[in-house]
Symmetry: D2
Amino acid sequence: MKRIGMLTSGGDCQALNAAMRGVVKTLANSDEKVEIYGFLDGYKGLIYSKFCMLTSSDFSGILTKGGTILGTSRTPFKTIREPDENGLDKVEAMKQTYYKLQLDCLVILGGNGTHKTANLLRQEGLNVVTLPKTIDNDLWGTDMTFGFQSAVNIATDAIDCIHTTAASHGRVFIVEVMGHKVGWLTLNAGMASGADIILIPEIPYDIEKVVDKIEERDKNGSRFTIIAVAEGAISKQDAKLSKKDYKKKKEDSPYPSVSYEVAAEIQERTGREVRVTVPGHMQRGGSPCPYDRVFASRLGSEAGKMILDGKYGFMVGYKNREIVRVPLEDVAGKLKTVDPDATIVKEAKLLGICFGD
Amino acid sequence: MKRIGMLTSGGDCQALNAAMRGVVKTLANSDEKVEIYGFLDGYKGLIYSKFCMLTSSDFSGILTKGGTILGTSRTPFKTIREPDENGLDKVEAMKQTYYKLQLDCLVILGGNGTHKTANLLRQEGLNVVTLPKTIDNDLWGTDMTFGFQSAVNIATDAIDCIHTTAASHGRVFIVEVMGHKVGWLTLNAGMASGADIILIPEIPYDIEKVVDKIEERDKNGSRFTIIAVAEGAISKQDAKLSKKDYKKKKEDSPYPSVSYEVAAEIQERTGREVRVTVPGHMQRGGSPCPYDRVFASRLGSEAGKMILDGKYGFMVGYKNREIVRVPLEDVAGKLKTVDPDATIVKEAKLLGICFGD
Amino acid sequence: MKRIGMLTSGGDCQALNAAMRGVVKTLANSDEKVEIYGFLDGYKGLIYSKFCMLTSSDFSGILTKGGTILGTSRTPFKTIREPDENGLDKVEAMKQTYYKLQLDCLVILGGNGTHKTANLLRQEGLNVVTLPKTIDNDLWGTDMTFGFQSAVNIATDAIDCIHTTAASHGRVFIVEVMGHKVGWLTLNAGMASGADIILIPEIPYDIEKVVDKIEERDKNGSRFTIIAVAEGAISKQDAKLSKKDYKKKKEDSPYPSVSYEVAAEIQERTGREVRVTVPGHMQRGGSPCPYDRVFASRLGSEAGKMILDGKYGFMVGYKNREIVRVPLEDVAGKLKTVDPDATIVKEAKLLGICFGD
Amino acid sequence: MKRIGMLTSGGDCQALNAAMRGVVKTLANSDEKVEIYGFLDGYKGLIYSKFCMLTSSDFSGILTKGGTILGTSRTPFKTIREPDENGLDKVEAMKQTYYKLQLDCLVILGGNGTHKTANLLRQEGLNVVTLPKTIDNDLWGTDMTFGFQSAVNIATDAIDCIHTTAASHGRVFIVEVMGHKVGWLTLNAGMASGADIILIPEIPYDIEKVVDKIEERDKNGSRFTIIAVAEGAISKQDAKLSKKDYKKKKEDSPYPSVSYEVAAEIQERTGREVRVTVPGHMQRGGSPCPYDRVFASRLGSEAGKMILDGKYGFMVGYKNREIVRVPLEDVAGKLKTVDPDATIVKEAKLLGICFGD
C-alpha cells in the first residue's frame, strides 16, 4: 500500500489536472493499492492539515479542464521558515501532517517558488516528487513545462485579434504578455503572431531602436506596428540601475506597467497613437491545449512510475525529447532564461523582428 | 452603369469585410456594370479624395478576415461642420469628391457616430446606403449589428479562461468588457460565461449589493466570484451626478477605469483579493464568427439589391428576423440601450445573477 | 413544494446542460422548495423508473459542458404505444412513474420525435413543459433551437479547414453537413464558410446545374469549388419518386451517402478529382457556443418560471426576439423547413451561391 | 544576386506559407539581392515551367494562412523517370527550367515522396534545400515536422466533440485519424483527448483485446468508449499477410476503411452500437497553430541562412531542440515510425490506454 499526498502550489496554469490525472491513473493501473490525499490550496493544506481523500474517479474527466481541482495559493518561500501569525512553525507543521498521515510520498506540482519549498521538504527528510508547472517555461532542468504552450496559444490569439484592428486603424499596438523575469512566452507568442518588435527582460531595449523600427515600417508602407512586451521588459538605462534603485523607480512610475511606459515614449517621439492591451490572467486559464495535455499526462505517468519504484527527490523533467529525473537540489533556485544569443533569437532577427537591442 | 463609393468608419469590428463582400458580390452578379471606389480610412478618404478602384476579386477571400481592407478612422461628428486645420470645409469636400467621381451612391459601414454623418450627407443630397456595424449592438432601428456576436464570443472566452484561474485561487475576478454607454455585450458575455455579477451602464449599481452577493456565495461554499463589468458601468451615487460633475470625478479618479474602482471597493469591504482583467481591443479583432459572417453577408446582399433598385437614404436593418430598410433620419442620434426591465434582464436575475441594483 | 422530473431525449446536442441548469437555478432561486428527479437516458428512464435525485449543485459548472448529464436515447414515437419486449405498456409505465413519484411536472428537452411523445403524455394528463433542442433548428413554433448555432460553428470550422486544402490542390470538395430532412444547418454553415454550392433537402438539385457552376468557376480562374451538401439533399429526379421507391433506391445505392453520389456524378461529368469529408457526429458535440449558452439559459429560466406559475402543456419557444409559450399540440408532428423562396435563400443566390435548382 | 526557385509538393498542410515566408523574409533582410520564382502546383510547375515571380510583399500576411499560395500536387516518385503522356522527359525538363532561369537553388517543401524527388534532383546536380512538411511527422532525420501539431489539434478537437456525444448516448465511438503508415498523429490526438483505445499501424491489434477493454470499461461503469484509429491500423492477422495478399484483401473488403471493419467486429462481438467519424482532410487544413507558426518560421529562417551561405543538399531538420542540417541522401526513402517500445507508448499504457496488443 502506498499513501500519496498531492498538492498544487503557486499561480495556477493549464494542465495541472491533466498531470495529476496522469499520476493517479498510473498508480490505479498498477498492482499496488494506493491512497491519495489531496491537500487544498497548495502548501497551506499541508501546513494546516486541510485535505480530502481522493479516488481514481475524482480524476476522471479532468484531462481537458483548466485550473486545479485541489486549489492553489502562493506561499512565499522567503518566509517559510518564519512562524505564522499564530506562532506556528510552518515547516514543522508540514512534516507533522506528512508523518501523521503516514505518507510515502508528496507529489508537488509547481513552478520556481514551489520547487524551493519542495527541496526544503526533501532536505527535511520527506519523500518528494515534483512536476514542472508554469506558463513561463523558466524552470531549470527541463526543456519544457506544462502550461507554457497553452499560454502561448492564448497570447497568440490575443495578438492575432489585435492584428486586424491595428491594421484597420493604422495604429501602433502593444500587447503585454506575462513574464516578469523571463521572455519565453513573449518570444514565442510574438513570433507566432508576426509581431514586429518583441521586448523581453533578457534583452534590454533602447527606445530609439524601437522607434526606428516603427518609422522604417512606416516608410515601407506598413501603417501599423505590433509590439509584444513582456511584463518584465526593461530599458537599457534601467538595466544599469541597482536592483533597489530600479524598484524605487518602478514604484514612483506613473505607468501601471512597462507597456504603458513604452507606449508613452513612442507617442512622444513619433506623435503616433499607441494602444496597449493586457490579456493578463487569461493566459493561465482555460482548457489546456493538446500539446500540454499529452505532455502533462506523460510527466504524470512517469511520476507515478517513480513512486511505484520508490524513487524520490526528483523533478520529472524533459530533456532532448526524453523524460528525465532531475535532482531537486539542481532545480531549486535556478532560472532558465532566454539567452540573447540563442539560435531562436537569431532566427527571429533574421525574420526582421526587432528586439530593441 | 453604377458608380459606387464605399467606406468604413469608426472603430473597426469583425465582419466589415464580409459585409462589403456581400455588397460587391451582389452587384457583380447582377446585369449592371459597376465601378467601385473604396475610400481609405473612413470619411477621411471621402474628404481628401483618397480612394482606390476595386474589382470583384479584391473582395474574394475576405469573408473570414477581420478588420477592414479599406482602413477606418474616427472622424468626430461634432466637428464635421468645422473647417479642418487648413481651412477646408469638410462637408463640401465630401460632396465634391462624390460629384467629381460621378458616384451614384455611397455605401457607408459604421456605428452611431458614422450614422450621424451619413444622415448629414443624405440631407446634403447624396445617395447613401448604410450598414450597421458595431460590437456594441446599440444602433437604433435594428435588432442586431454585425460584430456583436463575434465580440460576445471573445469576451466570453476571456471570462471562461478567468473562470478556471479564479476557481483555483478562490479569488474575486473582474473582467472589464467593452461598452461605454450600453451593456449588451457585457450582459451577453456575462450570461454566456456564468458570471455571478454583471454591472452595466443602464443599471447603476450599489456596491453594497455587490459585496452582499460575494459574501452570500462565500457562505454557500463558492470561494470565487466572477464579475463582468462594462466600461461604462456606474454606481448609483455617480448616476445622480450631473454629466459635468461625473466627468470631473472620473478625471480626478485614481483608477484607470471603473473596474479598478469596483475592485478597490470590494477589497476594502471584504479584505478579499480582487483581480481585474481587461481584454480591451481584442474584442473588436480577429475573424468574424459564423453568425456574423452569415448576417453581414445577408445585409450586404440586401444593400446591393437596394443599390440596384435605386433605393437610397436607408440603413439596412434587421427586425423580427426580417431584413428591413430603416430611414436614416430615424437611426441617426439614437441609442438602443438595455432596458432594466427587459425580459433578458429578468431571466438573468432568475438565474441568480446580481446586477447590483 | 414542487417535485420536478427532468429528461433529455433524442440525439444529444450542445447546451442541453445549460438549459437544465437554467431551469434548476431558477427554481432554486425561488421561495418554493423543489425536488428534482433526473430520469436517465431519455424516456427509458421514465418508463423503467431509472432516475437519480439531483440537487442544485449537480447543475453547477455545467453551463459550458457539452452533452447531457442525464444521458439520452432515441425512443421511437412510432412504437411508443406498443408493449416492450417483456410486454410492458410503455405509456402506462411512464404514467405510473410520474404518479408514484408524485411529480408536479415533467421538463422534457428534445427535438421533433421527443415532442410527439411529450404531447402524448400531455394528452394522457401529465403536466409537461418542453425545451426545443436540436442542431437542425427544424422545430415548429420557435425561430431558434439551442444546439443549432453551435453546430453551425463546427460545420463552418470544418468547411474553413477544407477551404485551404481545396484551394491548394485545386480540388472540388464536398462537405456533408448533418440534416436529413431540413437544410438550415447546411445553409448557414455554407453561407458562413463561403461555399460555392449548397444542396439542401428543400431544394432538389439538378446535377447539370452543379456541374455548370463548377465549370463557370473554372473559367473564371477559381481552380477549386466547395460544396456543402446536407445529408438529406436530393436530386430533382429522386424528388419525383414515391417515398417507397426513393427508399429502395437509397438502399440499393452503392454510395454510403448522397455526398458520394454527387461526387461520383461530378467526377464522371468533369473528370475532376472530387473529395468528400463527413464531420458527422462532431457537429452535435463539444462545448456550446456563447449564443447557445445564453439562449438555452434564457429558455431554461422561462421554463422554471412557468413551473412556478403552474403553466403546463407548452414548449418554451422564441418568436421575434421574445420568449413565447407554444401549445404542445401545435408543435408535435410539424417541421420547420427552409422555404425555397425565403429571403435568406434569395440573398444567398444574390451572393452567387448555386443551389442546383 | 541570388535566384531562388520555390515549390510545395505532396498533400498540403498547415504552415507551408509560414515556412516560405520565413525563407523569403530572411533573404529580404540580407544584403543580397534576391529573385524568387514560385513554381505552381509542386514539381509540375518545375517540369512545365509554370511559375510566377514573387516579391517579399507576396509573403506578407500569410503567416497565419493555411494551405500554400503556390498550390501543390502529388507527382509520384515512382514514375518520375518515365516520360509524360507527351513523351517529355520529366527530370530533364526540371533541369532545363532550373538552368534556363539560372537558378542558384531550389527550396522544396514536402514530405516523404517529395524528398525522394528532391534527392534525385540533387544527384542530378541541382542545388536543393528542403523543408520538412507533413501532418504525419514521419520524416526521417527530424524530431518534428510542421503541420503535425496543427493536425493534432484538429484531430483532438474532433475527438473532444465526439466525447460529449458518446458519453451522453453511452456509445462506442471510433474516430479515424489520418496516417496510412505511421501512428504519430493518432497516438498524440488519442492521448490528448483521453481516448481509451488507440490503434496504429506500428502496433497490430487483436480485436479481442479491443473488445476486452470495452467490456472492462462497461463493468467499471463507463458506458462509453472512445477509440482513435489510424487510417493504416492493421490487425495481427492482417499484419501476417504478404503485402500483395493484404492489398487484395483490402480491395475486396466491404468496408470503406479499417475503422468500419473494427466497428463491425465490435458490434458483432458485443452487440453494442458503434459509430464511426472521419474528420478526413480537415486535419490538413485551416490556420496553423502557434507552435507550427514558430517552428516553420524558424526552419524557413535557417533555410534562408543556408542559401545565403551557399550550403545545399540538405533538409533543415530539428534534433534535440536544435536546428540541424540533414543530408538529403539520409532522408530520402526512410520513414520515422512509432517504436512499439517507445517511452511514450509505455506511458500511454501506464495511463490505461489499450493498443490492442
